[in-house]
């Protein structure tokens, strides 16, 4: 058992005596990837606030559009300007005519 341990130690020494250094180009690539990773993190970290801003702006623009566009367009003129309802009581020779106009206000007393 001890022989194996001694042998393993010897082999480990031999294996570890030969080591390659990380080439400068590889280190450089890692640094670049690290930088890109950090930049990505910043963007990802900013993302919720970023999207919240965009979403609220979009909602505001949509609301403005919905409310302002009809104002600019104006209310279209209705082709019906007057509704007439006539009742005729023939035996009493009475004719009742209701005229409904668009400017007729229910809650306003006529002078």
């Amino acid at each position: 058992m001890n022989n194996d341990k001694d042998f393993d130690r010897k082999i480990a020494e031999l294996v570890r005596s030969m080591e390659a250094e990380i080439p400068a180009a590889v280190e450089e690539r890692l640094k670049m990837a690290e930088g890109a990773g950090r930049a990505r993190q910043k963007i990802l970290g900013r993302r919720p606030v970023f999207y919240l801003g965009i979403l609220s702006s979009a909602a505001a623009v949509l609301l403005l559009f919905v409310f302002l566009v009809p104002l600019f367009r104006g209310v279209p003129e209705s082709p019906i300007s007057e509704i007439r309802t006539e009742f005729e009581l023939k035996d009493k020779n009475i004719k009742i005519i209701f005229i409904q106009r668009k400017d007729f206000n229910l809650f306003k007393e006529e002078k």
Partner: protein, 183 residues
């Protein structure tokens, strides 16, 4: 009192956050990687027989570890998690390569250690070069990285008994190469 990256990590939640969830977890990763970077690079180099592709595999391993840091459980060793990713990348490399091309890369290795041991070192690396990729990984995880059998099992997903058997076989074969003085 200075705190290591692992101490900072242990003070937090049991799982890392996604890079986007926490800026600190990203910064912490590079701190945690630092003590393992050199060993990781050499493990990949040795597992790939000092192939030119080792640089790409190393970079992919690091970037993958960074991307999936949130899946790392702080209750476990960072090194075993990191080397498990490296193991997967090495495996992926050999799967892509399909055919195993035997290339004598040993001569390219920088000379290390005392001059009189250089021949022995070359002999060990020649032996490792002839091993199957998976077996070679086990060999270097044990002899180079100094992982315990249980850790090698965690990294590679090979059962502990099989790891033990592979190492025994490698030891016996090497003894034949070097001639065991105790035999």
């Amino acid at each position: 009192m200075a705190f290591s990256a692992n101490d900072k990590l242990r003070a937090g939640e049991s799982r890392m956050k996604k890079p986007g969830e926490s800026k600190a977890s990203g910064v912490l990763f590079w701190e945690m990687l630092l003590p393992h970077k050199h060993k990781l690079y050499n493990f990949i180099q040795k597992s790939l027989n000092f192939s030119e592709d080792a640089n790409d595999v190393f970079q992919e391993t690091v970037m993958r570890a960074f991307r999936y840091l949130y899946s790392y459980n702080k209750d476990k060793e960072f090194s075993t998690w990191l080397f498990a990713i490296a193991h997967n990348e090495v495996k992926k490399h050999f799967r892509k390569a399909k055919k195993f091309v035997f290339v004598e890369n040993i001569e390219r290795i920088k000379r290390g250690g005392p001059d009189n041991s250089h021949e022995l070192v070359q002999e060990v690396y020649r032996f490792a070069e002839r091993l199957k990729p998976k077996h070679r990984e086990v060999f270097f995880l044990f002899y180079y990285n100094g992982f315990a059998i249980s850790e090698i099992s965690l990294v590679t997903g090979i059962k502990e008994g099989t790891v033990k058997g592979l190492l025994n076989r490698a030891r016996n074969d090497l003894k034949k190469v070097f001639g065991d003085p105790h035999e």
